[in-house]
């Protein structure tokens, strides 16, 4: 139990460090919602490394604390919508065993942005926002693939040093 809590804590802390580092990178596309999402490297890695409840815990903490520190209350709503949808989809795709971390992460990136747009449409009540969807989906594929490739490298290294079933 103590090991599980410690591992989840380490992942959550790492995710926050990534969010902090990313807040220094100026990133302006003129389209709201596009982000590199460095912290998602930690979430995707956790998906393969930690049991399901801990993964959800890491995701929840990452969104809540980084939202409060580096965002605002409104961005928190969008992040939660995107985070929950992408995590659910990634877990399901992972469960099927058909895809490697690359495909799972790419789908997660797309779903993150779809969730955000859906939340934005609900909050603003303006369906026209859907026009951002293709751009956001494209960006989600790109960032998702990048995150997936990096996570794959990290997981390969982790696999050699840790047992994945020691919880």
């Amino acid at each position: 139990m103590a090991r599980r809590v410690a591992a989840a804590g380490i992942f959550a802390a790492l995710a926050l460090v990534c969010s902090y580092v990313e807040s220094f990178i100026p990133f302006h596309f003129g389209v709201p919602g596009i982000k590199l999402g460095l912290a998602n490297i930690v979430v995707v890695t956790a998906l393969y490394f930690l049991p399901v409840p801990e993964v959800c815990f890491v995701m929840f903490l990452k969104i809540l604390i980084s939202g409060l520190l580096f965002g605002n209350l409104m961005s928190l709503i969008y992040s939660f919508a995107g985070g929950i949808l992408s995590l659910a989809v990634m877990m399901i795709l992972n469960k099927t065993g058909w895809f490697s971390v690359l495909g799972v992460s790419a789908a997660g990136g797309v779903c993150h942005n779809i969730g955000q747009i859906a939340a934005a449409m609900l909050v603003t009540g303006v369906p026209v926002i859907a026009y951002y969807l293709p751009v956001l989906m494209g960006a989600g594929i790109l960032t998702g693939c990048l995150i997936g490739l990096v996570s794959g490298r990290i997981l390969k290294i982790l696999k050699d040093h840790f047992s994945f079933s020691n919880s």
């Binding site: 969008y78 895809f99 026009y131």
Partner: protein, 138 residues
């Protein structure tokens, strides 16, 4: 989380062909949506801009009249400028400034969104009857 057995059986960390197929399907879906939006209806120059605040219409403004509109709410303020038939967000005290960097728009498929302030400016297609126009313009 995976068991060691699962790990050995198939390497989930190595990109596979199924990944590429999945990514191609996702990209195709995005491209299809982009094409649908680009050629679908609603992509036209408009003469009226509607400001939607908190999901409710705040006002409809004629793009032929140059004007600035200042909107102040609990969340912050936005300064909207209408000039030469297009509308832009001149100023806003939102943290991300996406709405300001968006620039001037005049197409109904090109809304200006200020998510932190729950504010959207959308161009109404010409066919739309500006029902509340008279009420707003006084």
């Amino acid at each position: 989380m995976l068991s060691d057995d699962q790990m050995k059986k198939n390497d989930l960390f190595k990109p596979r062909r199924s990944d590429l197929i999945l990514i191609a399907i996702l990209a195709a879906a995005a491209a299809l949506l982009a094409v649908l939006f680009a050629f679908g209806k609603g992509h036209e120059q408009g003469t009226y801009a509607e400001v939607v605040l908190n999901g409710q219409s705040y006002g409809i403004y004629d793009l032929k009249e140059d004007q600035t509109i200042r909107i102040e709410t609990d969340l912050g303020y936005n300064l909207i400028e209408i000039q030469n038939g297009s509308v832009s967000m001149k100023e806003a005290d939102c943290p991300d400034q996406y709405c300001v960097s968006k620039g001037a728009v005049s197409s109904s498929a090109d809304p200006i969104v200020c998510l932190p302030h729950r504010l959207v400016i959308q161009i109404l297609p010409d066919k739309t009857e500006p029902v509340s126009f008279d009420a707003v313009s006084e």
